[in-house]
């Protein structure tokens, strides 16, 4: 089992993830051609202006108004992206398989960052359950997606802390990590891919066509 999840499954996950992202990207570019306003209105200057304002904490009005969401969201996303790439255990796996190597996070930092992802997921869950305007637009799939995103981090933490049977936890961790990678392109987790483009288009339209700010 361990051999399968740490070998072929990871391969499959990466292949599905990469090809899925490429497929979504190409599909988006092709349908953008059909949507006649997109290419004529896109502007690099205003795209970057908008992205800049929405990738800096508190640089937009809504981020200032909802400061708690802003803090948690930024921490969540930063940790969610950095931990898988820079965790020593992950780098060791890559080194073992392909001989590739890059700088790693310290063990303590990795652990704390993982805890942040888990706690932030809990924050999002509570928010979804407690706030009527979010509850109203919540489908079961929203909980499922949150679980999919949080599971690799929770199981990773569990393995690291040896909370349960280590071998089993590691296997579950690898499975949940692979599942998350594979579903990104095909679920709303694909906002990872689409975010820069939706933001860029809105920034272009507000900037170049409407001479206004969009933050």
């Amino acid at each position: 089992m361990y051999e399968f999840v740490s070998g072929p499954l990871v391969w499959i996950a990466f292949i599905v993830f990469v090809s899925g992202m490429v497929y979504q990207f190409v599909t988006m570019l092709r349908s953008a051609k059909k949507d006649k306003v997109i290419y004529p209105y896109m502007s690099l200057k205003y795209s970057l202006r908008s992205l800049f304002h929405w990738m800096i904490p508190f640089a937009s009005r809504n981020m200032r108004a909802r400061y708690e969401v802003t803090i948690v969201t930024f921490l969540f996303h930063i940790c969610l992206i950095l931990v898988p790439i820079f965790l020593l255990a992950h780098i060791a796996m890559f080194e073992f398989a392909w001989g590739l190597k890059w700088g790693a996070l310290s063990q303590v930092a990795g652990t704390y960052m993982t805890i942040i992802v888990v706690l932030a997921s809990l924050f999002f869950l509570i928010r979804r359950l407690m706030m009527p305007e979010i509850q109203f637009v919540t489908y079961p799939s929203d909980y499922l997606l949150l679980a999919v995103a949080a599971a690799p981090f929770f199981t990773g933490l569990a393995a690291n802390q040896q909370w349960f049977d280590y071998q089993t936890t590691v296997v579950v961790h690898m499975i949940t990590g692979s599942v998350m990678l594979m579903v990104i392109p095909f679920t709303r987790l694909s906002h990872m891919l689409f975010f820069p483009f939706t933001r860029a288009y809105m920034g272009s339209e507000f900037g170049a066509v409407r001479n206004a700010k969009d933050w």
């Binding site: 988006m28 409407r210 206004a212």
Partner: protein
């Protein structure tokens, strides 16, 4: 969730049409619009929205209705588009009626939510897709559809006949000449610097605004003209009902009238939605990158007249004023700064609203909502309580609204919430403060 019942409003445009709908008819239209007319934006927005609800606080409907989730931007999309997609082939007529109520009467497509969505999802565009579907099924509130029919038949919003139009202009020219000797309304003059266009309610019910502009043009010595023929109306309710074919026709007439007179540029009266139609929505639908001849809004024009000294200010307006910043020229054209500058140049005591500029709340009337007519007035006024509170907090006496929709919507709110304030177009302020040289005074 224990939400209060939404009052039932009877509207023949919806109540009668719903009887003629069948699930098959609905499925046909839905499939046609979603498969052929919507493309990248629609699909990517649907895939990207993570249902976070962060757009909610942007919406005056949501804030004014005690944070009722059914009025949040994403809540409105959920009740309409998500359901349409989920139940594509089994949509019942009653559901479509709900869609029209939500999309036509409870959203002003003001695009404030676009500035609150972290992903920049254009929720107003999604609501317009719903309106498009409703319109193709004839599911449009009656008063709104009536204006669209008028556009379609007469090329103007209010069934104004050509002789009535010319007659009104001549009457207003006479009125203006009662004040200023040189005031004229030149008709069909070729090659003029300014082609001036208005919305049809001006000749129909607010004709003195045309007389005012004749005086302003005379004082500023502007070389201008108005057409005696169709294309003089720059308003466009088809843009908001979802009848984009008629919308395109109306915009083409407007631009072509100016082209026919070889005007150097179009100056549009104080209306926001008309500007939106002429500047972006019309050109987009017609496949034009830009309008064929330069086109500016009245605020831009007044700014030019005042800053270049063509109009001098005799005495500043003394009563405390605040401003309603129209979505379609401030969030829609960045004219907020120029609007502030002309107010600063003409008014002594300006009380800024909070929030302001691009973040100002919508008047609640735009986006075709006020055109849905009297049946929907109560819910519309209720849906804009935050605006009333915002205006009251300025403690101003006059609200300057350089937009017809804002003007009417704010008047309803002033009445509804007993604010004791008055609403004025900027041209009315200008009429009171501009210096009229003695040699042209009557």
């Amino acid at each position: 969730m224990g939400l209060p019942a939404i009052p039932i409003v009877s509207d023949p445009g919806l109540d009668e049409t719903v009887k003629e709908l069948t699930p098959e008819k609905i499925a046909n239209v839905v499939n046609r619009i979603l498969d052929n007319e919507t493309a990248a934006r629609f699909k990517v927005y649907m895939k990207t929205c993570v249902h976070c609800g962060l757009c909610s606080d942007a919406c005056h409907w949501f804030l004014s209705n005690d944070r009722d989730p059914r009025f949040s931007p994403v809540g409105k999309v959920k009740q309409t588009l998500w359901e349409i997609i989920r139940r594509k082939d089994s949509l019942n007529p009653a559901f479509l009626k709900e869609c029209s109520r939500i999309a036509h009467t409870e959203c002003n497509v003001c695009r404030r939510c676009s500035m609150y969505c972290p992903f920049g999802i254009d929720i107003a565009y999604m609501i317009m897709v719903v309106r498009r579907i409703c319109s193709e099924l004839g599911m449009v509130p009656q008063f709104l559809q009536d204006t669209v029919n008028s556009h379609s038949v007469t090329q103007n919003q209010m069934w104004v006949k050509q002789d009535e139009w010319i007659d009104t202009l001549q009457w207003q020219e006479e009125e203006a000449r009662g004040e200023i000797k040189t005031a004229r309304i030149p008709l069909d003059k070729e090659g003029a610097d300014v082609f001036y266009s208005v919305i049809a309610p001006e000749p129909k019910i607010l004709a003195q605004l045309i007389g005012n502009i004749a005086q302003i043009m005379a004082v500023a010595k502007v070389d201008w003209t108005m057409p005696s023929f169709d294309g003089w109306d720059n308003s466009n309710m088809a843009m908001y009902s979802g009848d984009f074919e008629t919308m395109g026709r109306v915009e083409r007439y407007h631009h072509e009238a100016a082209l026919k007179l070889k005007a150097r540029r179009i100056v549009m009266g104080e209306c926001g939605h008309a500007f939106r139609g002429a500047a972006y929505d019309g050109p987009k639908w017609l496949g034009w990158r830009q309008p064929p001849i330069p086109l500016i809004h009245a605020v831009d024009f007044y700014h030019e007249l005042i800053t270049t000294g063509r109009i001098k200010i005799a005495k500043k307006f003394e009563t405390p004023v605040t401003v309603q910043e129209p979505c379609n020229i401030v969030r829609g054209r960045g004219l907020g700064q120029k609007l502030r500058e002309i107010i600063a140049a003409t008014c002594e005591d300006f009380r800024p609203p909070d929030p302001d500029f691009e973040h100002n709340y919508c008047c609640g009337a735009g986006g075709g909502a006020i055109n849905c007519g009297p049946p929907w007035k109560t819910s519309r006024v209720k849906g804009n309580r935050v605006k009333a509170e915002q205006l009251a907090a300025t403690k101003a006496k006059i609200i300057i609204t350089p937009c017809h929709n804002c003007h009417s919507g704010i008047e309803d709110i002033v009445g509804g919430y007993k604010l004791g304030m008055h609403v004025k177009f900027f041209s009315e302020i200008l009429m009171e403060v501009m210096e009229i040289p003695d040699e042209i005074k009557v």
